[in-house]
Symmetry: C2
Subunit: 663 residues, 2 copies
Amino acid sequence: MSLATARMVPMANAIRALSMDAVQSANSGHPGMPMGMADVATVLWSEYLKHDPAVPDWADRDRFVLSAGHGSMLIYSLLHLTGYAAPTMEDIRNFRQIGSPCAGHPENFLLDGVEATTGPLGQGLAMGVGMAMAERHLNATFGDELVDHRTWVIAGDGCLMEGINHEAIGLAGHLKLGRMTVLWDDNNITIDGTTDLSTSEDIKARYEATGWHVVSCDGHDFDDIRRAIDEAIADDRPSLIACKTVIGKGSPNKQGTSATHGAPLGDDEIAAAREVLGWESAPFEIPEDVVSDWRGSTDRGVQARADWRNRLEQHGDRDEFLRRMAGDLPESFSLDGYIQSLIDEPQKVATRKASEMALAEINANLPDTIGGSADLTGSNNTKAGGIGPFTADDYSGRYVYYGIREFGMSAAMNGMALHGGVIPYGGTFLVFTDYCRAAIRLSALQQIRTVYVMTHDSIGLGEDGPTHQPIEHVQSLRMMPNLLVMRPADTVETAECWDIALRQKDRPTVLALTRQGLPQVRTEMAGENCSARGAYRVKSANADRKVILIATGSEVSLALECAARLEADGIGADVVSMVCTQLFDEQDDAYRADILPDVAPEQLLRVSIEAGTTFGWDRYTMTHGLRIGIDRFGASAPAGDLFEKFGLTADAIVPQIMNKLNG
Amino acid sequence: MSLATARMVPMANAIRALSMDAVQSANSGHPGMPMGMADVATVLWSEYLKHDPAVPDWADRDRFVLSAGHGSMLIYSLLHLTGYAAPTMEDIRNFRQIGSPCAGHPENFLLDGVEATTGPLGQGLAMGVGMAMAERHLNATFGDELVDHRTWVIAGDGCLMEGINHEAIGLAGHLKLGRMTVLWDDNNITIDGTTDLSTSEDIKARYEATGWHVVSCDGHDFDDIRRAIDEAIADDRPSLIACKTVIGKGSPNKQGTSATHGAPLGDDEIAAAREVLGWESAPFEIPEDVVSDWRGSTDRGVQARADWRNRLEQHGDRDEFLRRMAGDLPESFSLDGYIQSLIDEPQKVATRKASEMALAEINANLPDTIGGSADLTGSNNTKAGGIGPFTADDYSGRYVYYGIREFGMSAAMNGMALHGGVIPYGGTFLVFTDYCRAAIRLSALQQIRTVYVMTHDSIGLGEDGPTHQPIEHVQSLRMMPNLLVMRPADTVETAECWDIALRQKDRPTVLALTRQGLPQVRTEMAGENCSARGAYRVKSANADRKVILIATGSEVSLALECAARLEADGIGADVVSMVCTQLFDEQDDAYRADILPDVAPEQLLRVSIEAGTTFGWDRYTMTHGLRIGIDRFGASAPAGDLFEKFGLTADAIVPQIMNKLNG
């Protein structure tokens, strides 16, 4: 039921006109890509994409990701033309202006129908892989009746050149995600000029080598585009469609050059393009028949959604499916009993092991989780609770062997979280947050529940040395907006942190966990998730309070040791476990003042102890407090020797406190 | 002049024995890789590698990088056996112990002959690409007589799976770096198990698609290894040699499994391996004839170095070549005159543009620089001073079109800096430090001069929105050890920062530069590089001093505006430009106390102003100071609207200061 080419052409030109005009009006933006891919997008959205603009959160809709996010006017045009409630034409007029949902790059939290925030290149495609994984997993869980959709990605040369592309397509190829299709805007142009300035790669051969099906088409020939998409659908591998396009297509003097990539075309050139395209409408006006053709194209999706709704209502798993897609935990889910058992029977284990113990409880009782590790399963302790591998042969599995692909893993987890219905977590060493930091930032910006299980969180990992020892990492992640960074001290806090992380529907969590064993510091205070306060008193001063020791993770037990020595000398010392600075900062004034009273250091000295940078700890110690930490790179040696070398022992710390008190 | 197999076998087994024994003694480490690659390494080092152990810094030596750095015992064994001054056998005995140069992963700053710090996977190979680029550039500059060597990399499956591999080999293939060879330890094993757990890729086909020559060999057959290396040398493309090996080769019960990857074999298994290998020496003892064969293998290199030395002494460019390899700037090099001219003629430009202006001076007068950008040349303003492209056809060029490969670019720059003879700089948007942060960390850890030109450094970039707007980046980089993070305020400071960066032989620099135009704040104080102090007073209080405004980059002019308003109300205000916190922290107490006197806020209020996170600014404002910044993600709008939205205007700031003063 394809429309005749004569009716398709103006549908595509509507995208071109809106893109030219919006960029011109904003005097900023990227017209080249939407104009170049307008024909491909028109075929995809009007004939293939399964969606219902009236119900943008329909669970079984196809997912569409504009990985080349700078071409944002493409998706804004498509959403508007197909009849989504937003963006309105007024929003499009205000492209890139304050308050408009039509931001410079598409933001998932501003517009329904924008499935992912894109712009940081390569990540959209990699999130698409995660969406396709979630789709297959939910299909294996709930069946074709409820879950049976595709993932479509539009990517540019930049997305394909980024390193994450290699990781993402390696994972997708290995997992045979045949319901994923990448439409590559093969226009031979990057910002700096033609692609041959910087690459000589045979992209199609590379994709084939990575387990992908590859097909090419003329990106300006509707029939050829249809043929290529049909071939992609027919193949059971993930597909790359190389769409040969002309960037800025329709701009007579600039098309095919990098001049159209990231700047307005200019009024004269837009006038000339209107000539060439035969587009006679005023800026931001679309002829009624074109609007009508675009709106009519969604009939398929509307019907499909109605059919699906009927199937859902009669489905035995209806409530469970809806619960999972809503992102709610089962009402029965609770770790309280488990945490009580930990308090009752103290034990000395590494927090990575404590995380494994918590996961055994969680995975057995919460079917939503999909775990994994970037080839450090035994070190990150991420496989627990009897979950089996997620493989091309068995998508019902809940454990992903991500391979040595930290960034790809993180982006895939973001894609899963965006898709919904699953709660992804994955592990690597904390120091390798540097490899996936750009994806962690997108977890935070997109307001999604991705859980990072980051082990080996300090010099306490020992012999692997400075390349593997985080120094600045925990602190530097704490300043990322909307991210919870948690560094628990023992089994109890680790379980509490997991409980908190799972209940964050709109923000991600980084768990920083030790390699080395830690004594249990929490042997009381059951019945309340103390970590949820961000910081709390693990021990109150016995003698007259002179000191507050503020520590995290492995250093909480060290702080307790210091406190014991101080108390023995008649110096009262609180010990505060600062599990999560962000959550502490969110507490009310009274609570914060109770834990950290605003008193001059002569009366009450605050001391921070963390086996990482001291930069920024002034925030909690106050200026004249004492900051114990490590402000250089680590070294290779057994952990005990390193804690001694870097002065993270009671023997080294207590005298400094005494000096300060007496100073 | 190959030795007979009967003499090669014990040479290789010496590596195996040392690796088994050192890991066992440390009770920690990775025996599998050195044992598996012992035969390949023996052929390479004894018959091909051009080196002279007595002169490890010989400029024309081949570069060898152990990208799979966890197999560090391989390089320690090779250095010891071929007669480098270090490691001694005592050092090897103390593998992974405190103070031993035989750290868990190879560290370039601990041992001559370790060309790069490796361990973070994929980066060794990518640094090898940079070394090969530097070699070709210096060859084009100084000719075959002085520069004519190869780059060899040993890489594992992890290095090949990491995203950076794609970027690195894409660059190397495009640039036709035919003197680079990667020996892939093709053992089908990763930490989690066999590689088919996580990948189905045809690696050889992928490399071929990326412009590489690929050859395979039996990694345990000396003749076959020689054949493959000869083929690699003969081909003018970069080569991948797939060395089919058995991980842990020689361990009868564990070889070929992930059990040998990262754990000691155990005493019993080591005894069994000694049987199998016919190795009768005690731990840490090598038979004299084996030592003799290893030492004899370096005769080629010793002779080559003597010949080279003769050529150098007679070479017209001798002094210049030695200067460049020593990393010294020409004595005549100075930006003083240029900076004076800036002070004389104030102008309003973006600091990215100011950087371009400085580079025009630098590149014209300092032949050492090799610039580039990750496909943002026109945005980063990195091409200046008349330098031409570095291409496969012309390696004398000094500008690299890195493509959309931020991480690969950064690692390549590290490789160039490690190679010596060149000073690499390269640009992308500051927010994309998240893509290359792991390489920035290796710049710092390796103590090398890599200069990162990071533009678009705040919400001041405007319409591109939150994905492109740094918030936490500047501050989070400041806490990385041994890294200079500089945020200059105008043309003068930008030139000063460039001068400082170029003179850091042992640490990298990140320049954070604006997209938007900035008024010139420095119109006096010529003759001294004020930025070298890290922070200095741009303006002293006129009225009675009550406030110190501490600002960086684009906010220095804003601080001056605030100060003018305060002074108009009779409130004296200093304005301090905090160009580089690290350099300021290194000043003596007297200087720091002069700039930021330790006085109670009631007497002297400190206010920080930076268009980024306020987290950590307590360090300079003191607890009861005022911190103006942005603690959430940005937004898409014109820059002026955003500064207003986020309260970074004098109208918004001055009342807060007044409140605080009156509070």
